[in-house]
Amino acid sequence: MLRKTGNFLFLVCFLAGISVYADDVTVEATINADEIGLNDTLVYTLSITCGFNAEPSQIKFPDFLGFRKLSQSQSSSMNIVIGGGQTFSKVKNYDIQLSPNKTGVIEIKPATVVIKGKVYQTRPLKVTVLPASKSSSAQKQRQMKNPFRSPFDIDELNLEPKISDDDIILQAVTDKKSVFVGEEIIFSVYLYSAVQIYDIEQFTLPKFENAWTEDIYSPQKFTSEQKRIGQRVYNVYLLKRKAIFLNKAGIYEIEPTSIVLNVVSGFSQKRISRQTQNIKIDVKPLPEKDMPADFPPFNVGDYRISYSLFPERQPMDKPFTLKISVEGTGNINAFSIPKLKDNPELRFYDPVTNSDIQTENRVYKGRKTFEYLVFAKRTGRIQIPSFEISYFRPDTASFEKVLVSGLFIDATEPESQGSIVKRSSETDGADRPASIRFVNVAGKGFSGIGINVFFILSLICPGIYFLIILRDNIKSLVLFLGFDSETARSRRRLRKYLNKMSLDMKKKNVADFSGNLYAAISELIFIRFGINIRGMTRDNLKQALAEKNAGDNLADEIVGLLDTCEMIKYANSAVSESEIESLFKRFRMVMRECGE
């Protein structure tokens, strides 16, 4: 009883302790450093401590103006302290990694947390962002400022080497800072590393909005070259190279590139993040002076243009090919030429274009061909209309023009065309034969079933039905076809004689009755005992029946009936109707005894 009371009291005290400390809420925001470099990462931690049964219903983080949010993580823990009063609380930590966008003193506004309808605010925080070059000294200063050294702090004991900002450098560069609209800019991202890289966790390139970009170099596996910078030797990795073509005049800003990577630090890995600075490009408009009308805006580069027509002579029903080839450096994929329009003598089909881009030596260049299929509408020598292809050369800041002219085709009479087709094409009438069917694959669709398959399929159910009918009528069929045994035939005859005997009884035909009765007895003996009584004496018959275990009474009755039949037949003795019926009954009795 006392033990139960003690337990109850302990539980009351325990719960009371919880209820007391449940309302004790602490919300605190901290940063890992007051001073950081522009290339450093700031860790903002929001710590919420509350009772066991309390839960924040709303958490509003500050806007982090002047920073870029890199990542966010969450962790929770419980604190239980027993002794002098129970402390039972839950701690939630939100860690946000931030990258500064600018230098100077940046204020981080308070975070707001709502717990059980009550609003809690953290205090505002201030951080000084120094230029990138000064960040390492700031880091050193921070280290110097720390007067406390924990005996359990492995970093402080220098068991692991420190990764400084100079150990890992991310660099984004362009080959030009000032270009014309549509001119090629090569954008490259390099990673300089003086430490061993374990892996790259995240690599974010700028979005390049309002720009046409083409990949030049996107390695699946990074390779490095060694480079000495000052006193240090770096492994230099080319992470990405792109050709960028800007299509709008003005100042274009390439956003920062960022990377998060894991490096080998002593016996463990360390997560490092780096970010480049914005790159500004001055984009000049194309000069309006000498600009051809309808000039394609992407025809900017250093190109060589050639053209050819082949064959020069052939039947008019076959196509001539006008091939225009453009080769050089620039946005070759976007290069366009004027569209050739049909005229009364020629018909031009839309050109087939082929691009062959080469990114050798990590430069964007290549060849693009335009193949026009040209059909002559008449026979004879026909000139291809002249036209101009123009492009802008950024190095000379001038428009170049190539005149495609002096091309002739010689169309002869078509060779392989029937008179019907020829005449209908000349008159352009509706009586033209229908063309081929444009299906690329033969064997598609249902084109009938094979004759053998047809017979098999069409006989499945009828066959089953036939078998069922056959099964039902098999006996009749066998009897009809006569495929039965001697016994069956004998039994059939016995049935026939019985019918005849019935008729004879009705007609009072005694002679026929006795004859049929005799025959019926013969058939019955054959059916039952397999004895053919033809030519047998009565004694022989009795002996044979005895051998077949017929029984004396049955044998006597059979012999008696046979004798009566012979007597009626040979002695012509008068037999009354009642005697005939009696004979019939006796025979039925014999039949029954024989199991028929």
Partner: protein, 248 residues
């Protein structure tokens, strides 16, 4: 499980093997190389592919190339498979008109029943017949074990009539296209010989595009008979395209 997988793979292989690319022929046709297109299509047809699109395109290539007898033959082959569609009939008429323009007197098919069956055939008819006949007998089988209601009995009567009509149509088709061999003359003005050799005397001539009955074969010669003429003679197998259906 392995057996099922094997069966699926086998069926897939058989199914895929039925696919044949005719795009090369189509490209040649579009570039107006009709003879080249016909040659490409023929290569596929010689492999035993029975496809109405292939046959139709081959016929159309011959039509555009002015080889009307061969065009007629391949249009008939197309119709044997899929019946007479609008474009096939239109082009067949054009092919006959082309023959007439070349001075070849031709009246088209010489058998009314043959013509009727070919024009009103559709590859789904035999399949529908198979399905209906199976339904009919399935109901009859059920009727052996279950009592059949009056409504079902009238359905049985209707089904029986439809099946009977389809059976007559298909029987006629089987007779004409499988048991009777016909052919189209695909060469210009073919001389019909008394015997199976060029050395025999010419007894009459048949025009390009004509339909003939094939009554016998000896080595590379067919014995043919033109209905109405009732005179038989021998022609080289090169000059005749055989009209025999492999499918219903």
């Amino acid at each position: 499980m392995n057996k099922v997988l094997f069966f699926i793979i086998l069926v897939s292989i058989l199914f895929l093997s039925a696919y044949t690319d005719i795009s090369d022929g189509n490209k040649l046709f579009l570039s107006s190389d009709y003879k080249g297109a016909a040659s490409k299509y023929s290569e596929i047809a010689e492999k035993g592919v029975e496809d109405p699109v292939l046959f139709y395109n081959l016929a159309t290539s011959y039509l555009y190339a002015g080889e009307y007898g061969k065009a007629v033959y391949w249009y008939y082959r197309t119709m044997i498979i899929e019946g007479a569609l609008d474009d096939t009939l239109k082009n067949l008429k054009m092919a006959y008109r082309g023959l007439e323009e070349q001075g070849v007197a031709n009246s088209g098919p010489d058998s009314l029943i043959y013509d009727f069956i070919i024009r009103f055939h559709h590859p789904l008819i035999p399949l529908i017949f198979v399905i209906l006949v199976n339904i009919l007998f399935f109901i009859l089988i059920l009727g052996k074990f279950l009592p059949i209601k009056t409504g079902v009995k009238s359905l049985l009567v209707v089904l029986s009539v439809i099946v009977a009509v389809l059976a007559v149509f298909i029987s006629a088709r089987i007779y004409f296209f499988h048991f009777q061999t016909r052919g189209i003359v695909i060469s210009k003005s073919v001389e019909v010989k008394e015997g199976p050799s060029d050395a025999y005397k010419t007894i009459f001539k048949v025009d390009e595009g004509s339909m003939v009955n094939i009554t016998d074969r000896y080595q590379d010669f067919y014995q043919i008979e033109r209905s109405g003429v009732k005179v038989r003679g021998w022609v080289s197998s090169r000059d005749i395209g055989i009209l025999k259906a492999g499918k219903l």
